[in-house]
């Protein structure tokens, strides 16, 4: 049977993240945590392949203990088995160390196809998918908008800015999913019940993975954040509140002043 592994990340819903204007830090209290949207699309694509061809869908997440929530949601959507890779030793990882940790977790399970989201909405890097593929030594196809199986190969619609390529690769390979790849299904009430009562999320800690200590966590991270800050916005200009004709006159005057007209 086809084995599909999906990597998902729990992220704060950044659409709702606000800044504390006094301290300039993120206010994360009360911000809902969600499955990263591109990852949820990856999971849905895997479940659709399962519906069509039969497959076992294994979902892996790396993060703190509360990432259990997103794996339960994955189970409720129809995932077969889930693993939470969590340990303080993995903390502070950049994309290099994250991908090395996840690659080592993935290599513990059988896989033909790995699907990750293109990027997470908290970091927006799009790095972890291709880096996992490199650590595992398998091909990767990024920015997928459609996936079809063809025997022991996948055919993928790979998006670029002004075109797309239809590409074919032999499995095992890794695909990164755009949000447009698949519209995620809803959890069913029975699925939610089973996810919490009947099914398990297996926890993997540092000692469960065969990965060198110099390749994980903060120490295994080539990059380091040395400063974070809120962006200073350009100063406010002139704002007027006039009727429509006066507003237009004001704009024309300014456009002429600036030689646009």
């Amino acid at each position: 049977m086809l084995n599909i592994v999906v990597c998902i990340k729990q992220v704060p819903d950044t659409n709702e993240v606000k800044l504390n204007p006094e301290t300039g830090t993120l206010i994360r209290d009360g911000i809902p945590n969600i499955i990263n949207p591109d990852d949820k699309s990856a999971l849905e694509a895997a479940l659709q392949l399962k519906d069509k061809h039969g497959a076992k869908v294994t979902v892996i997440s790396m993060g703190p203990a509360q990432a259990d929530d997103v794996l339960r949601e994955a189970l409720a959507m129809g995932a077969d088995e889930t693993f939470l890779v969590t340990d303080r030793a993995f903390g502070g990882a950049d994309t290099w160390a994250t991908s090395s940790t996840l690659a080592s977790a993935i290599s513990k399970v059988p896989y033909d196809l790995i699907i990750t989201g293109r990027q997470a909405i908290d970091g927006d890097t799009a790095q972890v998918g291709p880096q996992i593929a490199e650590h595992l030594g398998i091909p990767n196809i990024s920015y997928a908008e459609a996936i079809e199986l063809d025997g022991d190969s996948v055919i993928v619609k790979r998006m670029y800015e002004d075109r797309y390529h239809m590409v074919k690769a032999k499995m095992p390979c890794l695909i990164t999913a755009l949000a447009e790849l698949a519209e995620p299904r809803y959890m069913t009430p029975g699925g939610v019940f089973d996810a919490y009562r009947e099914k398990e999320v297996t926890i993997w800690g540092r000692d469960d993975l065969d990965v060198a200590t110099e390749n994980i966590g903060l120490k295994g991270s080539p990059t380091r954040v040395v400063k974070s800050f809120t962006k200073e916005l350009k100063g406010k200009g002139t704002v007027v509140n006039l009727d429509t004709q006066e507003s237009v006159d004001f704009l024309i005057e300014k456009l002429q002043e600036k030689f646009v007209l």
Binding site: E134, S142, F250
Partner: protein, 336 residues
């Protein structure tokens, strides 16, 4: 890894259909600035097939040296042959900095390459500078949808790698007399690297002007209320010689194409004039347009954050103001 052995700046030059992507020139411009601070040279690295005609424009836009890997296997981008070619070039030349455009190619190539080189990579940078003391590259990028900026270093690994968003850095003034030496680099066994087969290439037809190239953008958001109202923006754009762009809300609502989206998840633009119509100015939108020379905002809500970055703000209904503005400009230009 002996860090002292790594010298110079490499810019990955992206070519598609034998044409250099604009961001590559922007990176050469930035690379030249960084090279001055480091006292080193900038090398343009270009991969493709039959690409000798590309050396002239690269010299013109600031490359001191050019490395070409000219091979049929590199004609069209696929991950593995490009990664292998860049890997071999970097291993041979040991640059201290490698810059790539944050495009659909660069954001696939750079991560794979950084994993192979066992070095750090910072994605989608909006600012690059050399630390005066340590000479490390300081890479600044937005995170959390543009809510927060982070400055990142890669102190103990080389090369220091960054992808840079298109439209953020400035090209240098082209110098027609500039010269650069060209080295042909032969990559080993490229044909064996091809593990993904391209079956078909489909170009989007009727592609509109890239909003990143536009000097004037007339941009619409949720306040435009309905897709048909975007024709009002088009009328204004036609009168003033601009291009229509939009906010994420307009794309999410299905009114416009993602191609036209400005912002953290869209494109970064810096036109001479940006007119925001019915755009409230979520931080992720501001991140993509606040470097515009002149910003005009038209919005019903006097508290909309877009007014915080606007040079000229008009509190009012864009649906009424935009058509009248188009009409008045038409009259004015006809009279001239």
């Amino acid at each position: 890894m002996n860090i002292a052995e790594y010298k110079g700046i490499h810019v990955f030059v992206q070519q598609v259909d034998g044409k250099i992507t604009s961001v590559s020139y922007e990176l050469l411009g930035k690379g030249k600035e960084l090279a001055q601070d480091l006292g080193c040279d900038v090398t343009a690295v270009v991969l493709g097939s039959n690409i000798s005609h590309l050396s002239k424009p690269l010299a013109k836009y600031g490359a001191d040296h050019i490395i070409m890997a000219d091979d049929p296997a590199l004609e069209v981008y696929t991950t593995e042959p490009y990664t292998q070619a860049m890997y071999e070039i970097i291993q041979a030349k040991t640059p201290e900095i490698v810059l790539c455009g944050a495009t659909a190619i660069g954001r696939d190539l750079a991560p794979r390459l950084s994993a192979r080189l066992h070095t750090g990579l910072t994605a989608d940078c909006t600012k690059l500078e050399i630390d005066a003391e340590t000479k490390n590259l300081r890479m600044t990028r937005p995170a959390f949808g543009g809510n927060i900026m982070a400055t990142i270093i890669c102190a103990n690994h080389r090369p220091q790698m960054a992808t840079v968003r298109p439209g953020v850095m400035q090209k240098t003034e082209p110098d027609d007399n500039a010269q650069a030496d060209v080295e042909q680099f032969a990559v080993s066994n490229l044909s064996e690297c091809q593990n993904v087969e391209i079956m078909e290439i489909v170009k989007k037809t009727g592609a509109k002007i890239d909003i990143q190239d536009a000097k004037i953008l007339i941009s619409g958001g949720r306040g435009m209320n309905a897709p048909e109202n975007f024709s009002l923006l088009q009328q204004l754009a036609d009168e003033i010689g601009g291009t229509v762009s939009c906010s994420r809300a307009a794309v999410d609502a299905g009114w416009t194409d993602k191609e036209q989206q400005v912002g953290q998840t869209g494109k970064t633009v810096r036109p001479n004039l940006y007119v925001a119509c019915g755009i409230s100015g979520a931080i992720q939108h501001l991140a993509g347009m606040e470097e515009s020379d002149i910003i005009i905002a038209i919005n019903k809500d006097p508290d909309a954050p877009i007014f915080e970055v606007a040079d000229y703000g008009v509190v009012g209904d864009a649906l009424k103001i935009v058509p009248l503005l188009a009409q008045e400009i038409k009259k004015l230009l006809a009279a001239q």
